[in-house]
């Protein structure tokens, strides 16, 4: 019999982590992530999770601890968000550059200033170029399923994975979640095999200063320089596209639930108007699409699950029939536009998909994202398309002040 529990996103994350049996944990509490840190501490204390929980004074130290632990061969986990994630910034690069398969939950929250504890996705977006894989969850079921998949993906391509889900909206909202059995997760997730092992018996230096050129090592073997190492990181993330899709497929076969791999779609077969986004806002757009269909609009949704690597090919294919695309996102690159909109436009360049892309900035700092507002933005853009007035523009949803 399936084990369905009504739980919050943070509880789902903590349960998933426990099922994956990491050996070293370190986390610094920050709203709205705190509950994960508390639960994992409790599970460790009670012996439900046989792990070393290292108490740290900051997020920077939390990730430093995991970098060391992962290098020594341990499966690891941490969670943070917002300014805590920003404080980790330097170590995010280090973890990815070291090719350590660390898994972290980012419970998406706006960043200060002004101070906010509420949801948006600016935190993870601002860490886009650190070399981490970023997967976004649309509900609590996807949180538990994605965390489990994240370990398998990370350990296959040796790239750290950030599992992102919306703070409060998912982290604090209870909903039914099917919890997989420990034995089944074990069967899906083989033990972690580190690529380089820090071993006291064979002391070595890992990641010393690399020169701009390639050099021979002590045995006379010509080794990679910095640029070759960085190219390998890029290749790792490119290879992750296939691994993410394949992991999702195999997970679906074993557990009966499919998060979609790189992207997921909702009523896109004949869709001329396609909405897209990441996380809970993308789930909400499916409702907007259904309502637009009742008005006779051929609307559909393409949800972006993997933001890095960016699923360029899959998106171009899924949006092939679009006459108008609307990106709803909870972040932006100040001085330009939403990051997802930029990336999407670049991905579609030269593919023959030349639909206008309307960017919609929504839900910053927890501002309510209402279906009615989405529908209004959609209808206006569709009208604009008819009259030829709809270019690549950016709208601010449910926001006052000057345009």
């Amino acid at each position: 019999m399936s084990d369905v529990r009504i739980i919050t996103g943070n509880e789902a994350a903590a349960l998933a982590v426990t099922l994956c049996e990491p050996q070293v944990l370190a986390a610094y509490p920050i709203t709205p992530q705190t509950k994960i840190a508390e639960l994992l501490s409790e599970y460790t204390e009670k012996g439900i999770l046989k792990a070393e929980y290292v108490r740290v004074e900051s997020e920077h130290s939390a990730l430093s601890v995991l970098i060391a632990a992962s290098t020594a061969g341990a499966r690891t986990f941490t969670a943070t968000c917002s300014n805590g994630l920003l404080y980790m910034h330097e170590q995010l690069h280090w973890a990815a550059g070291s090719r350590l398969p660390i898994v972290m939950c980012c419970v998406n929250r706006g960043v200060g200033a002004p101070w906010s504890i509420f949801n948006d996705q600016q935190d993870a977006m601002s860490q886009r170029d650190t070399g981490w894989i970023q997967l976004y969850c649309r509900d609590n079921q996807e949180i538990i399923d994605t965390v489990i998949q994240a370990y398998r993906i990370a350990e296959e391509v040796y790239v750290p994975v950030m599992v992102c889900y919306d703070g409060f909206i998912l982290s604090h909202t209870m909903m039914p979640v099917e919890v997989p059995k420990g034995e089944e997760v074990k069967g899906f997730l083989p033990p972690y095999r580190p690529h380089t092992f820090l071993d006291p018996e064979r002391p070595c230096t890992i990641n010393p200063v690399f020169f701009p050129w390639r050099r021979e090592n002590a045995e006379g073997v010509l080794c990679d320089g910095y640029m070759e190492m960085r190219r390998k990181l890029q290749n790792g993330l490119e290879r992750a596209k296939g691994v993410i899709a394949e992991t999702s497929r195999e997970y679906a076969e074993r557990f009966g639930r499919d998060c979609g791999g790189l992207i997921w779609t909702h009523r896109t077969e004949d869709a001329e108007f396609i909405m897209t986004g990441m996380g809970s806002i993308a789930a909400e757009t499916t409702l907007a699409a259904d309502l637009l269909r009742e008005e006779g609009v051929r609307a559909g949704v393409v949800g972006i699950r993997s933001y890095r690597p960016f699923p360029k090919e899959a998106l171009a294919q899924a949006m092939g029939g679009a006459k108008l695309i609307m990106v709803l996102e909870k972040c932006l690159s100040y001085g330009y536009e939403g990051g997802v909109a930029s990336d999407l436009k670049a991905a579609l360049y030269g593919t023959g998909v030349d639909a206008p892309v309307v960017g919609v900035i929504a839900g910053l700092g927890g501002r309510d994202v209402r279906i009615d507002d989405m529908l209004t933005a959609a209808r206006e853009s569709l009208e604009g398309l008819k009259s030829g007035q709809c270019g690549n523009r950016t709208l601010w949803l449910n926001c006052h002040g000057e345009e």
Binding site: I6, T173, M174, M175, P176, T286, L287, D368, R370, I371
Partner: protein, 194 residues
């Protein structure tokens, strides 16, 4: 989809009431249930709310509930600070912890909503339900809810409490809820809504 909002003050247990209802609704066969607190910091005594969404299909909406079908009010002093009845949908139900008759809570110009009251404070006292010296009114109001809304059955509220409380606490709270079910006053008759 049914949207239920719980208004109370920090410490009164609106979040727990919403969670028990979500558990009960799922046990009753609804595929879509969500329970969410007011997002943000909480302070004892400050007004706060929790919301429950219940539907046959999984919930795909996470925005705040603006026009609830049912509003449950744990503290009638909240009527001084907000227009709770005014936010209800046409045909909505207002449930108030109060020893006053339900008609008192229906604004003059609105005839389309139904109101119910139950003296949850007295019931909590009878069943010795106290937290920090204050009577526990959240669980009796679940009984009042089952009385006026056909969507949920008492036996599932009982089972829902079993998920959220120790067995003795669940037993005692359910007895209080059952008493509230019996003693709820409904304006315009006794019928449950279909």
């Amino acid at each position: 989809m049914n949207e239920i909002i719980w208004h109370g003050r920090g410490g009164q247990g609106v979040v727990l009431a919403s969670e028990v209802l979500a558990e009960a609704a799922y046990l009753q066969g609804y595929k879509g249930v969500t329970s969410a607190p007011t997002f943000g910091p909480e302070r004892r005594g400050a007004p706060l709310s929790a919301s429950t969404r219940i539907a046959d299909e999984p919930i795909r909406i996470f925005s705040r509930i603006e026009r609830p079908h049912i509003a449950v009010v744990l503290d009638e002093s909240l009527f001084d600070t907000m227009d709770i009845a005014g936010t209800l949908r046409e045909g909505g139900i207002l449930i108030v912890n109060s020893d006053k008759p339900p008609e008192r809570f229906i604004p003059g110009k609105t005839n389309s909503i139904r109101a119910a009251t139950v003296d949850a404070v007295s019931i909590a006292r009878e069943y010795r339900l106290f937290v920090g010296g204050a009577p526990v009114v959240n669980t009796p109001l679940l009984g009042a809810l089952a009385r006026v809304w056909n969507g949920i059955e008492m036996r599932n509220i009982e089972r829902g409490m079993g998920f959220k409380m120790s067995p003795p606490a669940a037993y005692n709270n359910f007895q209080a809820a059952r008493s509230a079910f019996e003693r709820t006053l409904v304006n315009g008759g006794e019928g449950r809504e279909e």
